[in-house]
Subunit: 559 residues, 2 copies
């Protein structure tokens, strides 16, 4: 630390007179109350012996945003009162980047896809108020990216002047949980590549680091798989609604350069009806009706997990798809397997009789076979909690489980020794509260009513009810949008700023400077993040009337 | 009718093999099963002796949309199977417009703002399948506009060919209710003029004919009033967030040319805190806290209705604003008057003592005074139901009441002889279900939970529980968005296609060809309208996975 601590005001409570609107809240932060101008000649310089191209690109994006954001501070007058301090304020001309590790710098992209167990996103940021150089140091280029993201959030614009109000500033920061994701379902309705890239941008602004991509489902198969081209040719909604292998590589690269790992979910054996359009031989209860007897939503159809040819097909498909992704994680899903579908399927019953296996035994063999090829690629398989809690499987404890049915289930899963990604529908499902989408159902509400407000999301405790040992198995969480009633039209407003709320939960772990965070202090900062997102072209919804956004906490329940 | 009825297939049920996706459903319609191509030389010709400019503009818009919509029909293959009929199909070259009235044609704009009692939106549309001229006739240019809107919805595009599949077609149509509105709150958060114009376009596509504009509220006063320029100068969120008088005229003209009347609501005496920024002398309990003791939402403040100077100010304000609008209607609102605000206000208590009036007597005088200037301008005043049901007022029966608290209240209001506009929160509030927006409220849900689905909206019966006499007092309905959690970012997705559901309720009255409409038959048509809106640049949300949209009723509850 170059600044003596005596110059800084310890923040207790964290966010006082001037809202220090860093989102997610840093783990450790000290700041003052001085105004600092950003010099028109401001530049970001690198002390790295060799700066990776994607770090150079990230620096360029930050440099541009500092002057392009044009965010008026969220106070009455939008900064007019701040301007009185401009004449006596110093100007910052330089932010200097340095790595604390002596090894050669790897690219951000390479750092973003290393296994979460060894990924390093920590950074330290120091901004003096006296105009001398600011410094950003980190052990990895990924950490530098996170620090740049924090640095971008310090600045407001009033009358062409870019300035900060909470200087000097010292941040020592690193994530509480290594896996912090947003889940996208691109199968119920399709999202063009530009929508995904825009979402990746916004994810990176709040330090989310995983796109959990539920790419295909029963309704459509929009993923090009070169080994099985018929899958998307027959299974996509149209030729225009396919992610080509080039698109996928483009998305992976775009994400990685922004510190985001793309984790694919190929949900099996359920949620795969669309495979039946090209391979009906692999699908049990294909389009059977009434659909509600065979599936959680239309159309019915599940992979014939007891049929050797289908197991082989699925293994080959998983191997082929997984090999195209850089991530050290790959999910085979496994939610909502419908027993009746298999009971009614003559082929499955014959195959079970032939093998002498029970249904769960056959499911277990199917799972182990698909996971074997994932592990053979050096990756860790992920499953939905169903595969651990609802079926008698023998998955090793190195398997990761996504808890989605209820937040209560994290206890059961960790008790059994499995690592957990929190994705509970009772806190995180962004589509809840939009009403039922099934037809001919006048009074149908969402199955997971009510709407999950940002406050509800924020109130999630990743360690609730867990022992210390169980808590050690929590690797993070992710907040998904299921797209039955969503498309490019409402992607931004349904996701933002609510996904940012989850981002803070898993980055901060609920604490900053050792003090528990709370919704009351968080709201002004979230307003700020939301307004900044809007300035950057993300259609994040207003959380309150603008009157409230400009008057921190004036619209609280008891204000 | 030029087509013998023998050529037509009566529709029972209304929408059969090929979805005839006209929205809202016409009152009377017959159609066939033949394919008709739209000639590349297709043109719309007018038999009017003199065609008003705004009708010419409407014709040009229709002409452009026919070829620009590019909507693939919502079937598997998006029209590929339709193309087999192209080679044997005739081509339509002409749509001929004629007025049935011999009087000189008035502009659409003039017809749109005549009092609803005498407004005429009826039309007849005949499209032969044999390529001979189609005809559109109506008694008014406004009716011709409605017919053009219907005509636009007949056409799909496959491989550059524009075609229809339900020919021949005869429509005789007119609205069941004269007032069919969308309500916009531009005070909690601001909507730039282009957002309003885009919304007016979409409204016209579903034959909504009233923009009920709740322009100002306690949070901001974005309306320029030349007689009181200080109101917006001090009361708007910023100088950029003001509707100038030129903007207002622009919006009125744009709306009227699309058959839409702009009805202003100046909500009094509550919901006017923002006036206090320039005229604190007129506002009781101005910014009093805790706000919940003084107002339904922050910030607190109501007009000092018992103070003569404030009455005079309000009368002058209403007169000044009302005079700027062409509509024959003007609303003084009147919802959620908080008694404690006045009880605690020394000035109000002194004025009541001085006059010897009770609170309700003073409120009544305040109301009658503001309504007198509205009536003096030849207009009919509208109030919220509170002013009739919750206060002892002497409003004449010519006053119109907006029922918003509960759909049950329409009975009480019509029993007392008042005309009613349905706007019930339990069916129509588009913002319900988005969670509570008040701060420091982790578990707060919407006060009007749950989300109002299109099905719920569609199930509204405008005449429920009413006697024939009471029913005669229902002039229509309107579906509002309150903008505490809305802004330009989510305007389209929160409004569309749900507002279209209300549009059909009040255009059709729930019947087509004398048969009751229902959600099961409506869904495929609403999908079609939603996809067409998206083609035209409205970010309407998907109602279901695309798989369902392409397979009518396959995703119904019991399919």
């Amino acid at each position: 630390m170059r600044l003596p601590i005596g110059l800084l005001v310890a923040l207790q409570p964290l966010f006082f007179r001037n809202v220090l609107a860093i989102w997610p809240a840093p783990r450790n932060i000290s700041s003052g109350e001085q105004t600092l101008l950003l010099s028109p000649e401001f530049s970001i310089v690198s002390d790295l012996p060799s700066t990776p191209q994607d770090l150079e690109d990230a620096v360029a994006r930050t440099q541009a945003r500092l002057f392009a954001d044009g965010l008026g501070r969220l106070v009455v007058g939008r900064g007019a009162n701040d301007s009185v301090a401009f004449s006596s304020a110093e100007s910052l001309c330089t932010l200097r980047l340095a790595l604390t590790s002596s090894s050669a710098a790897k690219s951000i992209a390479d750092e973003a896809v290393v296994p979460f167990e060894v990924r390093n996103e920590s950074y330290a940021l120091m901004v003096p108020a006296n105009g001398s150089e600011a410094t950003l140091t980190a052990p990895t280029t990924l950490g530098l990216l996170r620090g740049l993201t924090t640095f971008e959030q310090l600045w407001y614009t009033y009358s062409e002047q870019v300035y900060a109000v909470n200087m000097p500033l010292v941040v020592h920061d690193s994530p509480a949980y290594p896996h912090r994701g947003f889940g996208l379902d691109s199968a119920r309705n399709f999202f063009p590549v530009p929508d995904i890239k825009r979402t990746l941008d916004a994810m990176s602004w709040v330090k989310l680091n995983a796109l959990y991509w539920h790419v295909v489902d029963s309704q459509s198969f929009p993923l090009e798989v070169s080994a099985f081209p018929e899958l998307s040719q027959q299974g996509a909604y149209s030729a225009m609604q396919v992610y080509s292998e080039a698109d996928v590589q483009d998305i992976i690269s775009y994400a990685a350069a922004r510190g985001i790992d793309v984790v694919l979910e190929l949900d099996t054996p359920g949620h795969e009806t669309a495979i039946g359009l090209s391979h009906p031989e692999h699908v049990a209860c294909y389009l059977s009706t009434p659909w509600a007897d065979f599936a959680s939503e239309p159309p019915a159809g599940q992979l014939r997990l007891a049929t050797p040819a289908t197991v082989n097909f699925t293994v080959a498909l998983v191997a082929s798809v997984s090999a195209k992704f850089r991530s050290a994680l790959f999910s085979t899903g496994g939610d909502e397997v419908n027993a009746n579908c298999y009971t009614q399927d003559t082929q499955t019953q014959a195959d079970l009789a032939q093998s002498g296996l029970s249904f769960d035994e056959a499911l277990n063999e199917f799972l182990l076979a698909t996971h074997a090829v994932i592990r053979a690629q050096g990756k860790t398989p992920i499953v939905k909690e169903d595969m651990i809690l609802n079926h008698n499987t023998t998955l090793p404890n190195t398997t990761i489980a996504v808890v989605w049915i209820s937040s209560q289930d994290a206890k059961n899963v960790t008790e059994r020794g499995y690592r957990v990604i929190h994705q509970p529908s009772d806190y995180f499902y962004l589509d809840c509260g939009g009403g039922g989408w099934v037809g001919d159902d006048i009074l149908g509400n969402s199955w997971c009513d009510p709407f999950k407000t940002w406050q509800r999301i924020y109130s999630f405790d990743p360690l609730a009810n867990l022992t210390a040992e169980e808590a050690s198995l929590v690797i993070g969480g992710q907040i998904p949008i299921w797209s039955e009633q969503s498309g490019p039209e409402n992607l931004d407003p349904i996701v933002w700023p609510r996904a940012a709320s989850a981002a803070e939960v898993f980055w901060s772990g609920g604490y900053s400077n050792g003090a528990a965070l709370n919704v009351t202090d968080a709201l002004p900062r979230l307003h700020d993040m939301r307004f900044r997102m809007v300035q950057r072209g993300i259609k994040a919804i207003p959380l309150q009337p603008e009157w409230c956004a400009l008057r921190p906490n004036a619209c609280d329940l008891n204000s």
